[in-house]
Symmetry: C2
Subunit: 182 residues, 2 copies
DNA sequence: TGTTTCATGTAAGACGTTACATGATTGG
DNA sequence: CCAATCATGTAACGTCTTACATGAAACA
C-alpha cells in the first residue's frame, strides 16, 4: 500500500498534477517504486476523496493540481517513522537457483554466468548515472536519490560476486563427483 | 507468474498433494517465494487443467497426489533457461529514504539505525539456520537452498553496512550546514 | 469422545499491468 | 494545419492476501 505514500511524499514540497507525478515516477522513482499512469490517476482520486490531498488549482486540458493536506502530511510522517512491515520478498532468480539441477550441466553455469554479467551491467549503468548526476541541483530527491543509488551499486556488486561464487561452487560439485542431476 | 514454476519444480523428484506442497512453501521456499494455501490449491487445479500436472493417486480425506507431466517438465526447463524478465523491484525501505527529510533529524537517524539493526538481526538468524543445517541430507533443496542462503547472508550484511553508511552521511549533512529539512 | 492433524476448497478485496479511449493545447 | 505533448480517465485481467467453510481420519 505504499504507492499512496510515494504520492504524498512527492507532494511535500510542491503541488503537481497526475501528469507531473507520472514523470517523477518514470525518472526519480523508476527503480524504487515503479507505477503506471493508470494507478497514479486512480490513487490520486482516492487520496483526494479521503482528504489526504486536495485539488488546489485547475489548468488547461482539465489539469488538476494536487496539494498535500495536514491529514496527508500526518499520515506520511506516521508511515515514515513506522519501522514495521517488512514486505515478503519474492525472487525468481533465487527460485531458479533452487531448481537449477533440472537443467543440463552446461546450462547451469551459463545461467549463473548470465546473472553475473547482468548484475555487472546494471552496476555499470548505475555508475554512469552517478557520474552524470547534476550535483548542482540540491533537491530532496537528488540528495536522497544518491543514497538509494548507493544501495543499488552495492547490491549489484554483491549480486555479481555471489553469482560467480555460486558458479564456482556448482562447477566444483560437478567436477568432484559424478553427475547428480535429475 | 512464477508460483506455477515453483510448483512444477517441487514436483520434479516426487509426487505430492497440495497439503505437502504447502509445507514445502512454508519451510524451504518461505524466504524465496512465499505462497498461501489458497493460491496453491487454485494453481494446482489450473496446472492440472492445462496438462502440466496430473493427478496420479487419491488418498484419505480427498487427498490428491500430483505428478509432473512431460509437458510440465518441458515448461519448467524453458522457464529455467529463460534469462529474460527481471521483475520490477519495489522497496519501501528505499522509498522511505527518499522522503526521510520529512522526519525531524533525530528520527531520521533512528530510522536508519533501526534498518541496520534489523538487517543485522536477520543476518544472525540466517547464520543460525546455516549452522543448524542438516548437511547429511542430500536433497536438491538443501544443496541449492544453501546457495540461496548465502545470498541472504551477503544481502543482509550489505544492507547493514549501507544503512550505517547512510546514517553517517545524513548525520554529517546535518552537522555541516544548518537544518535543511522541510 | 474429543482434539489435533490432514485435506481441500470458495469469496471478497487490494494491488498491479496492459490496453483502450478521448480530447485540448502548443509550437512549428 | 499537423504533430507532439499535455492531460485524464476506464475496463479487463492476473496475482496475492485474508478470511471463511467444510469435513475426514488419527490418536489419546
Amino acid at each position: 500500500m505504499s504507492l499512496r505514500h510515494a504520492l504524498l511524499g512527492l507532494l511535500v514540497d510542491r503541488t503537481a498534477s497526475g501528469y507531473d507525478l507520472m514523470k517523477l515516477f518514470d525518472t526519480s522513482l523508476a527503480h524504487v517504486w515503479p507505477a503506471t499512469q493508470s494507478q497514479v490517476y486512480g490513487e490520486l482520486t482516492r487520496l483526494a476523496d479521503a482528504g489526504l490531498l486536495e485539488v488546489v488549482g485547475q489548468g488547461p486540458r482539465g489539469r488538476k493540481d494536487y496539494a498535500l493536506t495536514d491529514t496527508g502530511l500526518t499520515e506520511l510522517r506516521r508511515w515514515l517513522a513506522d519501522p514495521s512491515a517488512e514486505q515478503p520478498r519474492r525472487s525468481d532468480t533465487l527460485l531458479r537457483v533452487f531448481f537449477i539441477d533440472v537443467l543440463p550441466p552446461e546450462q547451469r553455469l551459463e545461467y549463473l554466468k548470465h546473472l553475473a554479467d547482468q548484475a555487472a551491467g546494471r552496476h555499470a549503468d548505475l555508475r554512469k548515472v552517478r557520474d552524470t548526476l547534476d550535483w548542482a541541483e540540491e533537491g530532496r530527491l537528488t540528495a536522497n536519490g544518491a543514497i538509494a543509488l548507493e544501495f543499488g551499486l552495492r547490491f549489484t556488486a554483491m549480486q555479481e560476486e555471489w553469482a560467480r561464487w555460486a558458479a564456482q561452487l556448482i562447477a566444483s560439485r560437478e567436477g568432484g563427483t559424478g553427475a547428480e542431476g535429475s
